[in-house]
Subunit: 224 residues, 2 copies
DNA sequence: TTATCAATCAATAGAATAATTGATTGATAA
DNA sequence: TTATCAATCAATTATTCTATTGATTGATAA
């Protein structure tokens, strides 16, 4: 094979991957699947894509070898095809924050609506967990909590969060986490908690980053 | 701003970046600019794109904040917009090798044409350089050598390589390097050297990775 | 078997992307 | 000033991508 043809083929193969990543819906799917394997139906519900459309986007990602599938009965579960995929997604997200001022601005704007937002890192939380004076709440949908969550965390999904807020003890610090840096569910929870007089902080990143760092997580079930 | 709108905006901004990367020609340009700043003319020549077309691709990358420009007289120099950009490109390349079997196969196939190919890592070469028994040759176009090269390396561009092969001493080990993991110029050089009885090896990665690791490099000029 | 439901497929229309061509701008040098 | 050359722009066509619709497949349960 001559060098020119080789080059063309190599960059075409590389572009198969980057082109698959070059769509906002597919990026949203990547973030969702970073939480754990999901069925097409669940992905469809959580992205406001029709099932057929979600299925097509998933197939694009699968063809690029970024996702794998496994059928269980009627359901087909999609999942990230390995560690490298998540790491690359993290690198891209970091790139977004560093190069695109609009992204940081959007996040900051959203957060500045809240009274004030304390942020805690994985490491700080990991330390605090050794004591018994912190409560960790997982504000993602319960389905995602069920696949896996930070060890010891309680499930307090956002939609009906305010109805259950009094289940939380007023005398302990509360740390909320969600899907990751592009997700603001934890910010909403912290805002609500703070306005109810709780001392609440947001985990800087989300569950996937916690897990990828080898920090303690619980269960591994499949969600419907 | 409601959460749904926020989400849409965030992922759209992220996709502006990934979409810019989702084209084979633009990836080739990224690899080329990893060597250092280049004019549109030079990029055009080295990618078999027309000047107008190259210019348009460059503008796409610039709009995504992945490239920056600087005019010097008649020439406009494009360069990677910072460390994060190169790092993300490396992550994507690694992803390509790990997920897309075709990429590794293409590279291996190309190399297996050569008699045999010894590969040396940055670290091994760095060690060897402390002695005086290794000659490092840069087989990229001279223009790229002139911007910057591994400290002490000699410029032996590929096209006319065979004509100058006898300038090299037969009693020293020779290490050839080029643009990086997707570039096979160094492989060609090592093949030629080996067939002429030299002991030659290829640097595993290329100049950009060497530089990014803080290893010693020379000059910083602009090329035409 | 039939009904049901998750997922995929197939066909389409509309939108976005890419390459080509020729004209235009911006800077340098004759 | 005029000529020259790098780069960009503008307009066009061909191609590719995306969302929608309705039909089909594959598995489970009545």
């Amino acid at each position: 094979m001559n060098k020119q043809l080789f080059n063309r083929k190599i960059y075409n193969e590389m572009a198969d991957i980057t082109r698959a990543l070059g769509n906002s819906h597919r990026l949203e799917i990547m973030d969702l699947l970073s939480q754990g394997p999901s069925s097409v139906a669940y992905i469809s519900e959580n992205t406001s894509l029709t099932v057929a459309n979600a299925s097509q986007h998933l197939q694009v990602l699968k063809q690029a070898k970024l996702l794998e599938t496994e059928r269980k009965g009627k359901y087909v579960y999609y999942r990230l095809a390995g560690r490298h995929v998540f790491e690359t997604w993290c690198a891209l997200r970091k790139l977004g924050f560093s190069q695109n001022a609009e992204i940081s601005r959007l996040v900051e704007d959203y957060r500045s609506k809240q009274h004030h937002l304390d942020i805690i890192t994985k490491e700080e939380l990991s330390d605090k967990m050794k004591g018994d004076d912190v409560i960790i709440i997982d504000v993602r949908p319960e389905e995602e909590y069920k696949i896996a969550h930070i060890a010891g965390a309680l499930s307090f999904p956002l939609p009906d969060f305010h109805e259950r807020i009094n289940e939380l003890p007023a005398d302990k610090e509360i740390v909320a986490y969600c899907r990751g840096p592009l997700c603001v569910m934890a910010d909403d929870a912290v805002d609500l908690l703070t306005r109810h007089g709780y001392k609440a902080t947001r985990l800087e990143q989300g569950f996937p980053e916690w897990k990828a760092n080898g920090l303690p997580v619980e269960p591994f079930e499949m969600k419907a």
